[in-house]
């Protein structure tokens, strides 16, 4: 632990205290911005807005009827499929194996697609949040394979970013996903599909 005692730590803290010798007052933060939308989570208009945003990001959107498994299976490739260990039984595609912590994350490179749940989605920004619980799987699971099939329950669709942040636990790892991986680094032309999954399929489920 470099610079812990009497070293850099104390020096930097002393510098900061010295620099703030004018004793600035921390202002109250005005939170006049919207803390939530007008619609209840899962309202059909919110779901429509989410779909619009996801399509804009070039994600594939499937509205599942009663048969969620069939909706998922129609997009899965021939290559091996894995799913998050806590995926509910009635979302489980045939032939898929649960992810296990014993598997080296690097070996997920040979997996063709992965199926996970999600904890909350933001309609206005088209963002889906994974909390890496058994429902969403560890982080590498939704990163290394080339296709991510992500199930979003209508009741988890909120309007705004503040609503979403209130619903998740910041002490565990979180991933906010807004469309497939993309870059705009070449002449600011957007290209989908760089290092993360190049195909993002969002399956919308009414019940669950």
């Amino acid at each position: 632990m470099s610079g812990k005692v009497g070293g850099a730590r104390d020096a930097v803290l002393a510098r900061i205290t010295g620099a703030l010798a004018d004793r600035p007052i921390a202002p109250e933060v005005p939170r006049a911005y919207r803390l939530g939308g007008d619609l209840e989570p899962g309202h059909p208009e919110l779901v429509e807005l989410l779909v619009d945003r996801l399509v804009d990001y070039r994600a594939t959107v499937i509205r599942a009827g009663d048969d969620v498994v069939a909706a998922i299976e129609q997009v899965l490739p021939e290559a091996p499929v894995r799913h998050a260990p806590g995926l509910p039984e009635d979302w489980l595609p045939a032939g898929s194996e649960p992810d296990s912590p014993a598997v080296d994350p690097r070996d997920l490179d040979s997996v063709g697609a992965v199926v996970t749940g999600s904890v909350v989605a933001v309609a206005e920004t088209g963002s889906i949040v994974l909390d890496h619980s058994p429902l969403c799987g560890r982080r590498a699971l939704t990163l290394v394979p080339d296709m991510h099939v992500c199930v979003v329950r209508h009741r988890d669709v909120v309007a705004t970013v503040p609503e979403a942040l209130r619903r998740v636990d910041p002490t565990g790892p979180l991933t906010f996903i807004s469309g497939p991986s993309a870059t705009s680094d070449i002449e600011l032309t957007r290209v989908e599909g760089v290092h993360g999954p190049r195909t993002l399929v969002v399956v919308l489920v009414e019940g669950g």
Partner: protein
């Protein structure tokens, strides 16, 4: 004029990538005369300006978000010592290790030691302004450690042995044809017969090139966009997934973060996750945002190190009128709207922080001496004010530019016993204008200069130091009579 009330910390050290070799006006010549660079920049900044404007316009509470963002940053700086100590506690309570670095050299040494302790000679890197600022890659190379930049634009810059020219898109000065050429020369196995300059194909080439590096890497180095104090949560906002790869796959993660990046509460993040993507890439949300707090057993790195970096920040902090430069969230919106940046290009600023924010942040980090190349940066602006309009945290950039110009004049005067040409001219002007008779006489004599100006240029070039003013400016045509003469003749138009 020096406004420091507190005791300023020392400036950023010489290792830092914050100084060019020549002042801005000299460096800008290269950009101004490079037509390809001008074309690339104008196309790219034009595209991003339009995207940003469209997605900002759809947010009804944008101004309220900006006001909240500004206040959160101001409040965080006011409470900085206690917030950093609490962040340290939170990160360590969750299995992370916190290090402190007074300057670039110290931060680099910590990273080198950590990498060596892992026994590896290669690290993968997430794009980070802090590690660019401290010139980490050179320090690693000197220690025999190869740093692989994994952001596409950073990779382009690295492979071309070039320097970044933009905060968000470091290779903004490169067009697609140039990037194709760079890849063909640097990436083994690419077929010049089939690789076109289609951005899709170029991105695919980068994916294949880096995939192997991600899978074998054991140590990653990142920066952080925000450090949430109350939960010890670090945040990386990105697009490509290279950030997720680096934050997830290697066993050891080292994050270098400037001390000004702290925000007190998790709730504060809701403001910045709305402000940053729309201001930066012009998207409603960036594809990937990762947050983590310490280490998570069975998920991601088993070892996490956070390095808190000063490197001149406490110097900026000591000036109450200048410390708002530390509010910057590195979105680069001010670069994209700046007419000076668009024409001169990022390299002209000589610092990893170019554009309007760079023009106020860089000289404050390194110090204005009266003779430093960075003394020219506060003048790299037409003061049009577009930067302040778009800044998501409302940094008063034009006001700070003017203040830093005044500070530079003072620093120059105290560094030199003879006054500058400008100071001498101002003193003379003050003497003339302080007396009505002298002023009237001066106005009449100025008329003698009328014949010397044609089409805005002096017929006979003015000698130094006057040429310093006239060489880059048109001279106005002088009228037949002075205002005082006109007034005496007409009484303000009453008598004709």
């Amino acid at each position: 004029m020096t406004t420091f009330l507190g005791m300023p910390g020392p400036p950023a050290d010489a290792t830092s990538e914050l100084r060019g070799s020549v002042p801005f006006p000299v460096a800008a010549e290269a950009g101004l005369t490079n037509s390809r660079l001008r074309r690339n920049l104008s196309k790219a900044t034009g595209t991003i300006r339009a995207k940003r404007a469209a997605v900002v316009a759809e947010v009804a509470d944008w101004e309220e978000l900006r006001e909240a963002g500004r206040a959160i940053k101001e409040a965080a700086l006011a409470r900085l010592p206690e917030l950093l100590v609490e962040l340290e506690e939170q990160v360590e309570a969750r299995g992370g290790v916190v290090h402190w670095a007074r300057d670039a050299s110290e931060a680099n040494a910590i990273v080198v030691d950590l990498v060596r302790a892992k026994g590896v000679d290669e690290v993968v890197k997430v794009k980070s302004m802090a590690t660019q600022e401290i010139n980490l890659n050179d320090a690693l190379e000197a220690a025999g450690i190869r740093a692989i930049e994994t952001d596409l634009a950073e990779l382009i810059v690295q492979l071309a042995d070039d320097r970044p020219s933009h905060i968000l898109v470091p290779a903004i000065h490169r067009g697609r044809a140039e990037i194709r050429q760079i890849f063909l020369e640097a990436m083994p196995g690419l077929d010049p017969g089939t690789l076109t300059d289609d951005p899709r194909q170029l991105a695919e080439a980068a994916r294949a090139y880096l995939r192997e590096a991600f899978l074998r890497a054991r140590v990653a180095v990142s920066g952080a966009n925000f450090g949430v104090v109350e939960t010890g949560t670090l945040t990386v906002v990105e697009s490509e997934g290279n950030g997720r790869m680096c934050l997830t796959l290697p066993e050891t993660l080292i994050t270098v973060m400037g001390i000004e990046k702290v925000i007190p509460t998790w709730r504060d993040l809701e403001v910045f996750l709305q402000l940053l993507p729309r201001s930066s890439t012009g998207e409603r949300m960036n594809p990937y945002t990762s947050t983590w707090s310490g280490v998570q057993p069975g998920d991601g790195p088993a070892e996490f190190h956070l390095i808190l970096l000063d490197n001149g920040r406490t110097r900026v902090l000591a000036d109450p009128a200048g410390r708002s430069a530390l509010h910057c969230i590195r979105c680069s919106a001010c670069l994209n709207v700046c007419p000076v940046y668009e024409r001169a290009g990022g390299h002209a600023y000589g610092s990893v922080y170019p554009g309007p924010i760079g023009a106020i942040l860089t000289p404050q980090l390194t110090g204005l001496t009266g003779d430093s190349v960075n003394d020219s940066l506060p003048y790299a602006s037409s003061l049009c004010g577009a930067c302040e309009e778009v800044c998501p945290v409302k940094i008063p950039i034009p006001e700070q530019l003017v203040r830093l110009r005044a500070e530079h004049v003072e620093a120059y005067a105290s560094a030199h016993r003879i006054p500058s040409g400008e100071a001498a001219a101002m003193r003379t002007a003050s003497w003339i204008m302080g007396d009505a008779t002298r002023f009237a006489r001066a106005g009449r004599s100025a008329r003698l200069g009328r014949k010397g100006i044609r089409s805005g240029r002096a017929i006979v070039p003015l000698p130094p130091p006057l040429s310093g003013w006239s060489s880059s400016r048109d001279l106005p045509a002088l009228p037949e009579e002075t205002f005082r003469e006109w007034w005496a003749r007409t009484r303000g138009g009453e008598r004709r």
